[in-house]
């Protein structure tokens, strides 16, 4: 589905009228679309007015049974770079520690360089941007916490900086973390690619040399990811030699 088609789904998304597949696709789009995020938040507030207008007086017994149940329920911890609920499971995994280290890198990357926002930069009202950053962070952190998450790391071709890809076959998604890559020259950006048996499929833009990016689109059997320097706005096909190449194996 094209980005324009996806934009039009804000209303159906806010009313929970999408099927699970479309819902997931739209949520991936949302992560990189501050304008859509803003619109969805406003629609949720609008629909809440409809919902609240149907308010009834709940029976006393409902409150009693809800209050009685509280002590039996464990409250979830706030979502940070790596959800603490998943930390124990992560630690048990063989690849536990590198992923925890990555989660820490991710927190730093987000704190300092921020996360690349792929689309609608013209519409990045500060609030919407903050929301999108948070969602992107949640999505990347969620991917790190996936039980089948795997990682591959490689040094950049020029020697400066490191790129890491995290992927989960179960979630069919990948994320890229850049650390210390040289900042692209003015008017240039890093572009991510999925390697589909030698054909490079665009997977998102990373404007700086540090940061995290949830790659757009599914893994769809890709062999790995590549990073090239492209003109700002990105290219449809790589126009330069890869700076980083990482394979899913």
């Amino acid at each position: 589905m094209s980005a324009a088609d996806l934009h039009a789904l804000t209303g159906a998304y806010a009313t929970h009228a999408l099927d699970p597949g479309e819902n997931a696709e739209f949520e991936r789009h949302l992560a990189g679309c501050p304008a859509c995020t803003q619109e969805v938040a406003e629609f949720a507030a609008t629909l809440a007015r409809l919902g609240a207008a149907d308010s009834v007086v709940p029976p006393e017994a409902l409150k009693a049974s809800v209050m009685a149940a509280l002590p039996t329920l464990r409250q979830e911890a706030p979502r940070t770079a790596a959800p603490p609920a998943d930390t124990r499971r992560l630690a048990r995994l063989r690849r536990g520690w590198p992923k925890l280290a990555l989660a820490a890198c991710l927190a730093v990357a987000i704190g300092t360089a921020g996360v690349a926002v792929q689309e609608h930069r013209e519409a990045d009202r500060a609030r919407a941007r903050a929301v999108a950053l948070q969602q992107q962070q949640d999505l990347v952190a969620g991917l790190l916490a996936a039980p089948d998450a795997r990682t591959a790391t490689g040094a950049a071709a020029g020697g400066a900086g490191v790129g890491t890809v995290v992927w989960s076959a179960g979630r069919d998604r990948a994320a890229f973390l850049a650390s210390g890559l040289p900042a692209p020259a003015a008017g240039r950006t890093y572009e991510l690619w999925f390697d589909d048996a030698g054909t490079m499929r665009p997977a998102g833009l990373l404007p700086g040399g540090d940061g995290a990016l949830l790659l757009s689109g599914p893994l769809a059997g890709a062999r790995g990811v590549g990073v090239t320097v492209e003109p700002a706005g990105g290219s449809a096909h790589p126009s330069s030699a890869p700076v980083v190449l990482l394979s899913f194996s």
């Binding site: 009228a17 007015r49 308010s55």
Partner: protein
């Protein structure tokens, strides 16, 4: 009456819900009790509107309120107010229940739709919420018929947008556009947003 309903109108007084949620996140049951008083009426009302069955609605409302308790720490003020957050959870759960029931028993649903019994007799009639209801009705009347029908079938009946398209005999693309521009019009009419 203990359950005073505080609506999400721009000028509304009442407890600071964000502060309550922050305290609930730290396990404060008194704060939860106050939050409950503010949101339980809208939660149950919305769930009933979608599910219609009173017993099932109470069950789902309870699940929603306990989810609020469990996930209070996940609430992010920068993403919006508390009431939309809670009612989004409520709507999601109500719709999930409708779809589960639909998959299991389409025939029951047809029977229920045919009988069409109004189940909410004890609607809260606080002045505040009556005014709010009137404003919502007025704004809904301001939509085109297709916008209104698309939105109400999706929101109040839990239809997916392909189901809405089928019921209304309108192409899919038209429905998703009408849902979006209907919500934009409603948003502006209700004065939501910046």
């Amino acid at each position: 009456m203990s359950a005073v309903v505080h609506l999400t109108g721009p000028s509304q007084p009442g407890p600071n819900l964000r502060e309550l949620v922050a305290r609930v996140a730290r396990g404060d049951q008194d704060a939860f009790s106050r939050l409950y008083d503010a949101v339980a009426g809208p939660v149950l009302g919305l769930v009933r509107r979608v599910l219609r069955d009173p017993a099932q609605s109470e069950e789902v409302a309870q699940e929603v309120l306990l989810e609020v308790w469990r996930t209070a720490a996940r609430y992010r003020a920068e993403r919006g107010e508390v009431m939309p957050w809670v009612l989004t959870i409520a709507h999601r759960r109500a719709v999930d229940r409708v779809r589960a029931a639909q998959a299991a028993a389409d025939r029951d649903q047809r029977a229920a739709a045919a009988s069409h019994t109004p189940v909410f007799d004890e609607v809260a009639e606080q002045v505040e919420s009556r005014l709010e209801r009137e404003q919502v009705r007025r704004c809904l009347r301001g939509l085109t018929e297709l916008q209104r029908e698309s939105l109400t079938l999706a929101y109040y009946r839990g239809y997916t947008y392909p189901q809405v398209a089928e019921v209304l005999g309108v192409p899919l693309g038209t429905i998703k556009t009408r849902m979006r521009d209907g919500l934009i019009r409603l948003r502006d009419c209700l004065g939501v947003g910046s």
